[in-house]
């Protein structure tokens, strides 16, 4: 038996008005939204993200961003977007096209990176723009005088979004490290001697996440006490053909679009939530395949991958002659 299908793919949508566009650093800009209907936003927990729809000409871009505003203030939502000049264009669109007063659509929050409330202590590790989910988590924990500390790595002081605000508000809890000065987060010493029941959370570049996970494992930390979030952007690749059995359609996935985006372009209502390889919603069964999968998600385990029976269309691709999906 399969899970009940929702009427429409993705989380429920909210019509919003851009209420502020605030440059934070050379690369990072904060976008604040209010609800167009004037009501409060739905409550969310620290670590949640929203998927922002960007109407870019004849193309709709859908990118996930962590909510960074205070979860106790539902009058607005805020995200911070780092401009990726070599990215797929979503962040560049936000930076160049979005202005206060614009009407946009975002989704209700979804949290794949929540606080573990069994923790005796929360220790956050942020790299660059990975700071954003922690801003909301800190807002939430401060309500209950929670036990937390933050270790934040950035290239330079000018690039460290929100570091000044954090250091001023929480001088004993926030520690910032500038790689431009050759200073790294001392992961091994920070993970040694933490009280039993400490949970570590990491958000940032893949290298930082991997290094933290490996260091924690080497020190005997249980996997369940280490939490990470990394949204992947779909990587470009050679175009490939896919046959969608249920929809009775054949689609060509272009070089710069994902399999999920190609299905949506053809009007196929494929399920999704995070669009970054983390949530598992878009998992699709493979009917037949003659070729190789390029799995890039954080969802399928090794057995799933070896079976050749599943693919995550939001970030993964295919190279080969024929691919048939149960969609």
């Amino acid at each position: 038996m399969s899970a009940p299908q929702k009427a429409k793919a993705g989380a429920e949508k909210i019509a919003v008005t851009v209420s502020a566009v605030v440059p934070v650093t050379e690369y990072v800009t904060r976008f604040e939204f209010t609800r167009t209907d004037g009501a409060d936003f739905p409550p969310f927990s620290g670590g949640a993200h929203t998927v922002v729809s960007m109407e870019d000409g004849d193309r709709t871009r859908l990118n996930p961003y962590s909510l960074m505003s205070d979860p106790t203030d539902l009058s607005h939502y805020a995200i911070s977007v780092r401009r990726e000049d070599n990215g797929r264009g979503g962040s560049a669109f936000m930076h160049s096209q979005v202005a206060p007063g614009d009407a946009m659509t975002i989704t209700c929050p979804v949290n794949l990176f929540g606080l573990d409330w069994r923790a005796k202590k929360h220790i956050f590790f942020a790299g660059g723009i990975g700071i954003t989910p922690f801003l909301a988590m800190i807002g939430q924990l401060e309500q209950t005088n929670g036990n937390w500390e933050l270790h934040y790595a950035a290239r330079t002081a000018e690039n460290a979004a929100y570091a000044d605000m954090l250091l001023e508000k929480f001088p004993t809890k926030v520690h910032v490290y500038y790689s431009g000065q050759g200073v790294r987060i001392p992961l091994e010493s920070l993970l040694t001697g933490q009280p039993l029941g400490t949970h570590a959370y990491v958000c940032g570049p893949a290298g930082l996440i991997e290094l933290l996970r490996d260091t924690a494992k080497g020190l005997g930390w249980p996997d369940s006490n280490v939490h990470s979030e990394e949204f992947l952007a779909p990587a470009p690749g050679a175009p490939f053909e896919v046959r969608l059995c249920k929809s009775d359609k054949s689609v060509t996935v272009g070089e710069h679009e994902s399999l999920l985006e190609a299905m949506e372009r053809e009007g196929v209502d494929a399920p999704f939530l995070c669009r970054g390889g983390s949530c598992g919603q878009c998992e699709t069964n493979v009917v037949s395949a003659d070729g190789d999968f390029i799995h890039r998600d954080h969802w399928l385990d090794d057995d799933d991958r070896a079976s050749g029976k599943k693919i995550m269309p939001c970030v993964s691709r295919f190279i080969g002659t024929t691919l048939e999906l149960d969609r």
């Binding site: 001697g193 933490q194 039993l196 029941g197 020190l219 005997g220 996997d223």
Partner: protein, 198 residues
Amino acid sequence: MSKFEFPLSIGSRPVWGTLEPRVGQAHLFVADAQGAEAILDVATPELMAGAHIIYITRGTDYADKLRALNPSQFYEGPSYGAALSRIKRALSDAKMGLQVYISGTESLMGQMTNEATQAGVPFESIQTEHRGSTARRMQCVHCKGFTEDVETDPFVCSHCGLNLFVRDHYSRRLAAYQGVCVDAEDPGNVPAQKGIYE
């Protein structure tokens, strides 16, 4: 031979594992009676260099063998109740990187798992291995009293005296199986007593 193959049962019945050495900053071993054998099987000089063994003898004579493993700390006590203050202190002093190994009776493993999870060790990371007695710690669902070392089904509640049927339904929170009155409809009509696994 102190190992016993428990028959397959309902989902709430705990499943115990086999101890294996893990990477860690410190190693806490808690065992009762024949549970000592599981420590003897897994012990290496390297593991013992960072080990604290809390051993509950329950009338057995494994203590000298465990002491001979040369753990960095060793405690020997007669019962779980006697050892509990030592266990609580060991957990409250512990840091992340502690590995927890529990072996012996289901009563010990259930109660010790609770102590460890409350101290912040995630359930999934706690290692267990059953050895020795298959007797159960039972809670009477009527008076809520616990009866330890129950070997027969039905049995008499040591608190309220009701005749209780031994269920496989288990509570992690209470670290006990559920005992339910077997003759509530027809007092005195009690099935013949037999071993729980007979």
